[in-house]
Symmetry: C2
């Protein structure tokens, strides 16, 4: 009966989807974005090319979803920054982890490729901001708002500006390879940004 086959088909689809997104991320790390092809993704994922074209209109769209999948939590919940009650310690933990991720070629290569596309494509940039950047940004702002309410930041602190001052120097150093991305840099950045917005 048709009804009994639906869960199986749905499980198979989900397996294929995960295999395609994983293959996409792996291949970007190995051959780079420019040399990535739908053929290679299909071969690595063990699916037909048509399966990929049925779900995604372009290479850029698969790459985008493969990166988006990285920030999906298995429990379906949203992104949250750590909250131990100590904003200084929490931000240092997050910025140290971000610096470490950006220093890992397997992790950073696909995001670097995506950033190159975004810089030259205002429409993709808007989708990126809405789907990937906004949930992360809102998580950062929630954590900073908590710190402001706890009196660890000035009552009139501009939290958008604070978020930019925390993350932009890290992102720039990563994209332009203009200096080391280490714990010392992460800590100095948090110390200086918090000094600018303390009560």
């Amino acid at each position: 009966m048709a009804a009994s086959t639906t869960p199986d088909r749905s499980r198979r689809s989900e397996r294929s989807r995960v295999a395609i997104l994983t293959a996409t991320r792996d291949l970007i790390g190995e051959v780079g974005y420019a040399k990535l092809t739908i053929e290679a993704i299909a071969a690595r994922a063990g699916v037909g090319k048509q399966t990929i074209y049925r779900w995604w209109p372009s290479k850029g769209a698969v790459v985008f979803d493969s990166l988006l999948a990285l920030s999906e939590r298995p429990d379906g919940g949203g992104i949250e920054l750590p909250d131990t009650g100590d904003i200084d310690a929490d931000l240092k933990a997050v910025l140290r982890a971000t610096a470490a991720e950006f220093s890992d070629p397997g992790f950073e290569a696909p995001i670097r490729a995506l950033n190159t596309e975004i810089i030259n494509d205002p429409e993709l940039a808007a989708v990126y901001r809405e789907k990937m950047e906004r949930p992360i940004r809102e998580a950062k702002l929630r954590r900073l708002r908590g710190a402001r309410e706890a009196g660890q930041l000035a009552a009139d602190a501009d939290l958008d500006l604070l978020a930019d001052m925390l993350y932009a120097p890290l992102t720039q150093r990563w994209l332009l390879r203009s200096g080391p991305l280490d714990d010392d840099f992460a800590d100095a950045l948090v110390d200086a940004a918090l000094r600018a917005f303390r009560p």
Copy 2:
């Protein structure tokens, strides 16, 4: 006599060089980096393709020199930031001007194209840092050092970090088109960065 023709030839060469670099910048603004060709540059500059290939090995190299030429001063002197003695006013003037430049499509398009190349090419990034970024960075650091000596910044202020916190949020907002680049943003950035490093 050969000796008497040299100045003429040298003047002609310099005229061609300037025409090629100007044509390159103009065309990037009109058609974008991806669609720019050596043929089009030669036609616009009124020189033969071979003249360009004799002086530059690739399209990227011409584009790079065309942007480098923008920061060459006619008097051959170095780059200096304004110095009225008031670090707050001077930085606001510079960051407002930078924000305005980045909002001008004719000015920003070639630099955006160059940044895309740099992000994906560690060797070009190193040349860029040495030839274009370093002189500008040193000018910023000289101005900040003057302010520190004048007691307008803390004696132990990390001027490299301060320069990153001043410029990276502006650069990121420009590259990712993540918010308006206006006087208010420039001023808020200077106010916050100076608060972090005041005496």
